[in-house]
């Protein structure tokens, strides 16, 4: 039913009612931003990527195949836009990412639980971009595995294997970090 409503709005936009697009932006901005944030890790870049994603989707509305849900199609565009933003900002992003981790660690310092959370984020930063993106979206609890597969452009089985392996790698990294920390202490 939601997709049917979206399709009606799309028809209006294609007929020249540009303002109708605001309804779609309002409806999907939160998840679009969250997807971009999961990949980029900071508010400013995530907002930029989500905005660009919405603009690209608008310009390609004519090419939208109505067999799939509009939301899935839009999230895929946002996902790809965020990945390309990430590639562009690769060098500067690394320092931003570390800053965020440092900040949350320092701000919440002292508590054992928060120490462990910090180590999880540290271990995550050691994973490759694709693994990190897949894992983050998997734990968002907002999308099914099939939807994540559609958004990331992977086959569902490939994604399943990727998430499984990424989680194992993350656990291994975390174990190493925790061991090192235990020795240091």
């Amino acid at each position: 039913m939601t997709n049917e409503t979206d399709l009606l709005i799309i028809d209006r936009i294609l007929a020249g009612d540009q303002a109708a697009y605001a309804g779609l932006v309002d409806k999907y901005k939160r998840y679009a931003y969250t997807i971009a944030w999961k990949i980029l890790g900071n508010k400013a870049d995530a907002e930029d990527a989500a905005q660009d994603g919405f603009i690209k989707a608008y310009h390609h509305l004519k090419s939208f195949q109505r067999e799939s849900k509009f939301s899935t199609w839009l999230y895929r565009i946002v996902f790809n836009t965020a990945i390309s933003h990430k590639r562009k900002n690769k060098h500067t992003f690394q320092s931003i990412e570390n800053t965020i981790i440092e900040y949350s660690y320092e701000a919440q310092g002292g508590l054992e639980k928060n120490d462990k959370q910090y180590f999880v984020h540290l271990a995550m930063s050691r994973l490759n971009q694709a693994d990190r993106g897949a894992l983050s979206m998997f734990y968002m609890d907002e999308f099914s595995l099939e939807e994540i597969a559609d958004i990331t452009g992977m086959a569902a089985n490939t994604l399943k294997v990727r998430i499984h392996r990424a989680r194992l790698r993350l656990a291994e990294q975390l174990k190493l970090i925790l061991k090192t920390e235990a020795i240091t202490l």
Partner: protein, 173 residues
């Protein structure tokens, strides 16, 4: 020290995802009671899941929708076929220029001379008292003018339908 196998790791992943059957789950529960490395791995998986679920972004800017709509106005919608049409039009114009140049080069229009006598028209004879001199036109000159106009047109087509959208797209990418 005891290490867990790949199979046990897979089982634990499925255990935390809740995708095991009741029987398999029971079997993992029993193994967990006796295996310290498995318990350790399970606690890591739980910690990962809990941390990543808790990781939420900062709130989105309140004027996000307005910003998107403002940016949309800056980049008006373009039809996906315009680039293709532009290329076809450009090819057509260049083809016409090419044919005309070949014909001019071969001297096809050299002998084509015509004159335009405005006094021959009934209307001009009635309106004007003094006769207008006859204008002589060379076919070659006329075709050369058309070629120049076509080259100018091809530049405009190239700019508007190919280069401009291309650069706009690259700027937005």
């Amino acid at each position: 020290m005891e290490r867990i196998t790949e199979k046990q790791r897979n089982l634990l992943s499925q255990y935390v995802d809740g995708t095991l059957s009741a029987e398999e789950r029971k079997s993992v529960d029993i193994t967990l009671q006796t295996s310290e490395p498995m318990r350790e791995h399970l606690s890591l998986l739980n910690l990962i899941g809990q941390t990543l679920k808790e990781k939420r972004p900062e709130p989105l800017a309140k004027n996000f929708t307005e910003q998107v709509m403002i940016n949309l106005l800056e980049y008006p919608i373009s039809t996906p076929s315009s680039l293709r049409n532009g290329i076809f039009l450009l090819i057509g114009v260049l083809l016409a220029v090419g044919v005309a140049l070949v014909l001019v080069g071969k001297g096809v229009f050299d002998a084509t001379l015509t004159s335009l006598d405005p006094s021959g028209f009934e209307v001009t004879r009635r309106l004007l008292k003094n006769p207008i001199p006859t204008i002589s036109l060379s076919g070659k000159l006329l075709v050369n003018c058309i070629i120049i106009l076509n080259i100018a047109l091809s530049w405009i087509v190239l700019d508007r339908t190919i280069l401009k959208p291309l650069f706009q797209r690259r700027m937005r990418a």
